[in-house]
């Protein structure tokens, strides 16, 4: 069975993981209700997309 020959330091693992990065979602403003929404998505606040109402969001 293969086994590691040498000890693997914390730094080594952490250095490898410096390339794991999160990217922020590209949030934009809804043209209808001016709430934040994702591009190419129905607005979760007003249910509008490209000027027409597609869904009716649940009232909180």
């Amino acid at each position: 069975m293969p086994l590691p020959k040498r000890r693997h330091s914390h730094t080594r693992g952490r250095k490898r993981r410096t390339h794991w990065k999160l990217t922020a979602p590209n949030v934009m403003e809804c043209a209808h209700c001016h709430q934040p929404k994702l591009p190419h998505h129905i607005c979760p606040h007003c249910g509008y997309y490209k000027g027409i109402q597609i869904t009716t969001p649940k009232e909180a």
Binding site: H32, P44, Y49, Q53, T55, T56, P57, K58
Partner: protein, 155 residues
Amino acid sequence: MRHQRKVKKLSRTSSHRQAMLNNMVTSLFASRMIKTTESKAKELRRIADRLVRTAKKDTLAARRLVARSVKDRAVLKKLFTEIAPQFKSKPSGFTRVVKMGYRRGDSAMMAVVELLTEKPKIEKDAGKKKGSKKKEKEVAAAEGKSKKEKSASAE
């Protein structure tokens, strides 16, 4: 050769996938709009458009072809008598898929598939809102409620 003829498998066997898409397309014709995952929505679009195109011929042969997918007789009738005639002037593009965010449980992207038939309810609302921009939010809230009730009773 079958180059470029890609079909999403949706993690199902072919019979399972076929049955699921048949059921989904029946639901779509029955209720005009359905909510599902984005992958399923995009596959469903292919099936739904093909069935509408066949249904537009309005012959017995066409009806039998479509009946292989749409098992519900009432929905089959609706497709031929109500839905297909509305698309007479359109050669394609009978459906629309719009993304609507991630599902809570598994972060799957959800989408709405809808038939682009006329829906008087929505067109009327859109017209109303253009009139008064200030009251848009209040109107939207009020209409959201009334429509929710309507859709609930429709189901």
